[in-house]
Subunit: 121 residues, 2 copies
Amino acid sequence: MIKLNNKTYTCPVDVTLSFIGGKWKILILSHLNIFNDRGFSEIRDNLPGISEKMLVQQLKELERDQLIEKKVLSLKPYRVQYNITPTGKSLSPLFEFLSEYGINYLKEHGIDYMKDQQLYK
Amino acid sequence: MIKLNNKTYTCPVDVTLSFIGGKWKILILSHLNIFNDRGFSEIRDNLPGISEKMLVQQLKELERDQLIEKKVLSLKPYRVQYNITPTGKSLSPLFEFLSEYGINYLKEHGIDYMKDQQLYK
DNA sequence: CGCCGGGCTTACTTTTTGGTAAGTTATTGC
DNA sequence: GCAATAACTTACCAAAAAGTAAGCCCGGCG
């Protein structure tokens, strides 16, 4: 067992998954891996089905873990921009693999995913 | 949204994670990626903290998804052996990456994981 | 004979995760 | 002046994942 920040992990894999686990983080990171300077609603609108509550939550955790960063553009009308960090980018082989594997699996089951997938691939 | 076997997925990544998500599957697969012909309790004893209920459940799902296979050696005293399948093995770059990333992260935070890690690395 | 180990099953509870929906502040556009 | 948009916050609720603990069948061992 590994102890880190008051949490316990069974192994290093567990540690990595603590950053990117959950239903949306990998999708958010994949999106920010392709697009720069994204606003909150731009991200939201490209994640079919996510609730704002979830998005806020995941963005906060990703920021805390330094995989993404948030720039506040203005306060009076509150406007922000999100970008992936180098640390976040270093995970991109993972996203690639997970996505390729999924696409391949779908193909073998008669589902072609390539169309309309410029986003969160 | 992708529909497959009465379930919906947001993207291919989601599909892949449906096979290997959860707290224990990757650890089980990593273990079987290294060791052949493992009995139930051999696996259990190398997964610190897993309950038998969880192990049974995860093994069943991994078998159903054809990432591992189970040989029944004898019925009267019930004895079995688990092995990873080629499909399961094809995921090993993923385990490697997740593990390396975790180990590296731990190193940067002053925790050295290498010792006593012939198992579930 | 009684206990131990292997490979489970079952019932019950807790924790974690995710979803719904409404409300907030402030600006732009008609 | 009213609606829409951006970027959230809050409260409440349901479902899914995981944990706890006990029990079962069978054979080997002392």
